[in-house]
């Protein structure tokens, strides 16, 4: 462990970020429970960042747990597997955990209760596999980043293989309030995580593995240190608890003292960051041949009777999870999938959880703490809180004035939409909502511009085709005319010679 540079005090004294109430207990103090099998599962086709997966099963098919039901499309996408054995009931629109509340594509599965697996290929020593083979199997298992962003893990590995990576960082910060699924996983499955992380290390060709865990999780730190003990290349590092510590840039800076260039990636400084849950899933996939069909989720919030961390099948509806956590004690003011800061507010309990869902929260009015926004008093708190060093109030002003381009000029692209600024704002200005709006709007414009360009190309192609057809027609006409003229001339000539012969 000797190579680790202890973070200099200067870095610990930087002021970015916030310290929200953690709300991690009582769930963090209880072991992970099994959520069991709900009567119906909905597997979202868009539960990963990137393109939606394409179904490869039909309605009525019987599938086994771990069987591929939808395949990745394009470069950034991930396979979806059946999370238990059962029958495909429907493929199409279903309620989804999306901020719009609009439905999305999903595969509805009715469990047969037997929970039978497909053929699983057990690999006693996956660490001996070639790096490419590790990446291939990670892709085949449909593993995505389990910290929330759900970026396909294999794509990240491929990115890493192309640049030279010296350090893999394992993100065990779990900085969002309420969530303790990573904490519990680290306490209960430290071995899986470390072994999985070593496979990630091998797949990227890096030499060091740094596990960053916030100091509010002492038991997790102990468990992980114990599991990492045999391996000199692995170091478990205690980092300060502060939101958003789990953001890639902030974590890298805290652990290594370097920062990726503006607009750059972690790989630009030779680093790749994976979540602890992802590492555990990689181990299950490579050692036991299990596709990603379940994950640990924190079910919590003031309106939940018995908050708990649960092992949950992908596609389980929120209603089932809330019921398993003792039901609701009162009408929640807000339902969230993910953490309270960056999660997705959903309209009802019908939506299913996907691979990226770290939490299911039913929050009370007091917890949401929503008040009518008032005018900005220019206190500058948001500027201090912003981990990226942006000026949230300025960006929001420009977005409010419809000047999205200007907002981009002053850093909208670098915004993590972490919500730290809105959290500290004494005027309760919904700053992040401005940023999310502006980003979405810019993306929509870009999409529409591309579409119009393509349509123009189609139009031009059509015009060119018509011109060519007209030209060809004219040419054919001319040719026919010439042929006819030639034929007539020949005929006439023949007649002439015939008469001449006759007369001769």
């Amino acid at each position: 462990m000797a190579h680790v540079v202890i973070p200099p005090i200067r870095r610990l004294l930087t002021r970015w970020g916030i310290h929200p109430d953690s709300h991690k207990f009582p769930a963090a103090g209880l072991d992970i429970a099994d959520a069991g099998l709900p009567p119906l599962l909905v597997l979202p086709l868009s539960q990963q960042a990137g393109a939606p997966a394409r179904p490869v099963v039909k309605v009525g098919d019987h599938v086994l747990r771990g069987q591929l039901v939808a395949e990745a499309v394009g470069h950034v996408s991930a396979h979806v597997h059946a999370s238990t054995s059962g029958t495909v009931m429907a493929i199409g629109d279903a309620p989804m955990p999306h901020p719009s509340g609009l439905p999305g594509q999903g595969i509805t599965l009715r469990p047969d209760g037997l929970d039978r697996w497909v053929q699983r290929d057990v690999e006693p020593y996956p660490i001996n596999l070639a790096p490419e083979e590790i990446a291939r199997r990670v892709a085949a298992a449909g593993i995505v980043g389990m910290g929330g962003a759900a970026f396909p893990a294999a794509v990240k590995l491929a990115l890493g293989q192309r640049s030279s990576i010296h350090t893999v960082i394992l993100n065990g910060s779990e900085c969002e309030p309420y969530l303790s699924c990573d904490d519990r996983l680290m306490q209960e499955r430290a071995g899986d995580i470390i072994e999985g992380a070593r496979l990630l290390l091998r797949a990227t060709g890096a030499q060091h593995l740094l596990v960053g865990i916030e100091d509010n999780k002492p038991d997790a730190i102990d468990a992980m240190k114990l599991a990492a003990h045999p391996y000199p290349e692995v170091s478990v590092v205690r980092i300060p608890s502060r939101y958003p510590m789990g953001a890639e840039r902030q974590l890298i800076h805290t652990l290594l003292g370097v920062e990726p260039p503006a607009g750059g990636r972690a790989a630009d400084v030779g680093v790749v960051v994976h979540n602890v849950g992802t590492a555990a899933a990689v181990w299950r996939a490579l050692r036991h041949g299990e596709a990603l069909t379940e994950r640990v989720i924190t079910v919590a919030g003031g309106a939940v009777a018995a908050p708990r961390n649960m092992r949950v099948r992908v596609g389980t509806p929120l209603s089932w999870l809330v019921e398993r956590a003792g039901g609701l004690t009162r009408e929640p003011a807000r339902l969230v999938v993910g953490g309270p800061m960056m999660g997705v507010a959903v309209p009802d309990l019908d939506v299913p959880v996907g691979k990226g869902a770290s939490g299911v929260l039913a929050l009370t009015v007091a917890e949401v703490g929503e008040r009518e926004p008032s005018a900005c008093i220019r206190c500058g708190s948001c500027v201090v809180a912003c981990p990226v060093g942006l000026m949230p109030l300025e960006m929001a002003n420009r977005i409010n004035a419809g000047e999205l381009g200007q907002a981009e000029d002053i850093g909208l692209r670098d915004c993590l939409t972490c919500g730290a600024c809105g959290y500290v704002c004494p005027s309760r200005i919904p700053l992040v909502q401005y940023f999310a709006h502006a980003r979405g709007e810019l993306m929509a414009r870009e999409r529409e511009r591309k579409r119009l360009d393509e349509v123009r190309e189609l139009t031009e192609a059509r015009t060119a085709r018509h011109e060519r057809e007209a030209r060809e027609k004219a040419e054919m006409h001319a040719r026919r005319k010439a042929e006819r003229a030639a034929a007539q001339a020949a005929e006439a000539a023949a007649k002439v010679s015939a008469t001449q012969e006759e007369s001769a």
């Binding site: 868009s46 989804m96 999306h98 901020p99 719009s100 609009l102 439905p103 999305g104 009518e372 926004p373 008032s374 005018a375 977005i399 409010n400 419809g402 381009g405 200005i429 919904p430 909502q433 401005y434 999310a436 709006h437 979405g440 709007e441 993306m443 929509a444 414009r445 999409r447 529409e448 511009r449 579409r451 119009l452 393509e454 349509v455 123009r456 189609l458 139009t459 031009e460 192609a461 059509r462 015009t463």
Partner: protein, 178 residues
């Protein structure tokens, strides 16, 4: 007499001099105007549908450059094209000038007789179908130029807003009281 000659000569000189100046100015001005019109034409959808009230996109571009028409005059181009043109010409657009969502053609199955009129008309090949068969619109390629709807003998085609999906949804801008 001499006075008259001087007067005529000087007038002629002034006239031709001014003529040259005007000619040069006109050419210079014309070149500038033309290139701007061309640039705007390149930004318009090229549907030449006339919904802007001008004879084709070139007419619209001319009018926009001359300040006769707003960059928002082209319904198929919508917000994206309007913003691009406004940015190019240095015009500011009001936020509410263009609230309307883009529309596309939708063919009512029950009324379509498969006459292929729309199919032959569509400037961007957005309509699929064959003689005596039900026709359909490929939404991605439709600019909503309305030409097919105009010519459909049974009125089977209407322009409808693109359905909102989770993939195209945009978080609304917060409404602030202050």
């Amino acid at each position: 007499m001499e006075q008259m000659i001087t007067a005529v000569m000087s007038l002629a000189a002034i006239g031709s001099g001014l003529g040259v100046v005007l000619g040069v100015a006109a050419r210079k001005f014309a070149v500038e105007g033309d290139s701007r019109v061309e640039e705007i034409v390149a930004m318009l959808p090229a549907a030449n549908c006339g919904q802007c009230g001008f004879p084709g996109c070139e007419g619209a571009a001319q009018a926009i450059v001359e300040g006769e028409a707003s960059p928002t005059c082209c319904p198929p181009g919508g917000k994206v094209v309007a913003l691009a043109i406004a940015g190019h010409l240095g015009i500011t657009l009001g936020d509410d000038d263009m609230e309307e969502a883009p529309k596309i053609a939708v063919i009512e199955d029950a009324i379509c007789i498969g006459c292929t009129k729309c199919y032959r008309l569509c400037p961007s090949d957005a309509i699929v179908g064959a003689m005596k068969q039900l026709h359909g619109v490929f939404a991605e390629a439709c600019t909503g130029c309305n030409q097919c709807a105009d010519k459909c003998p049974t009125g089977a085609i209407t322009m409808q807003p693109l359905p909102a999906t989770a993939g195209t949804w945009v978080m609304p801008k917060p409404v602030m009281a202050a």
